[in-house]
Symmetry: C2
Subunit: 144 residues, 2 copies
């Protein structure tokens, strides 16, 4: 099995709220939009973000964990500069994110903040000038 | 904000068990390996999978949801053929996946199954001959 991710799927409680945030708010185009079922967005060269109704997800994958606390995953979107990070967090707030945490300088040498989508999934917005960050954003500015 | 994912981060309970599965079992090379803290693997042209200790995740992101049931996300790895799907599921079983569900033909026209990693994160292994599947695996075989 080669190390390769093709889709990231998030189960969502209300697909209309999800559409309002990602499509209307952030302005992302969809590859597939089946109301009440699924919304798919291209988020990389060979990568698709699938926002799937909880009912559909549970019917195929199984009962999901419910309760307080965060889902133990994040999705990161890296920017080439620190100013880019701040701009994206502002855009997420304008798009209606229910929670935005402004960026901070991190021990690992970068600068990042977080926003939540309507289901509380956390997106990390990061400027990462290290070697691994360069993989994700080849035009990363070392001076940020 | 352009629609782009740079990193996928999963909080993991035991990073040694995670390494045994992904690195020793599946044979995936690492970009960064800090024992007890984090393991990073390149899983796309500009995409990194980050396996982060729960303690580190919780300190930066917040308390995670615990309890029964599945984390409401999946990561998919698409293959160009149905035989490729079966081969990957067999490889995951050989690598020590705690749970493998053999592939089935799906209503949407594809063929997919699932395996769990040591924390129970579900990977979907799929052959998807539809238009969205073609984005993720350009060499998808329409005859599978």
């Amino acid at each position: 099995m080669d190390p390769r991710v093709s889709f990231i799927t998030l189960a969502v409680a209300d697909l209309d709220a999800t559409r309002t945030f990602y499509v209307d708010g952030l302005g992302w185009p969809t590859e597939l939009d089946v109301p009440g079922e699924v919304l798919m967005i291209k988020v990389g060269e060979r990568l698709v973000l699938s926002l799937w109704s909880e009912a559909g997800f549970e019917a195929e994958v199984g009962p999901i964990r419910r309760g307080p606390g965060l889902v133990p995953i994040t999705i990161a979107h890296n920017e080439a500069t620190r100013a880019g990070v701040d701009a994206v967090l502002a855009a997420a707030e304008a798009a209606g994110s229910p929670e935005v945490r402004g960026a901070e300088h991190r021990d690992w040498g970068g600068y990042s903040g977080y926003f939540a989508d309507p289901d509380g999934y956390r997106w990390e917005i990061a400027w990462n000038p290290g070697p691994v960050g360069l993989i994700a954003v080849p035009d990363t500015d070392p001076d940020g």
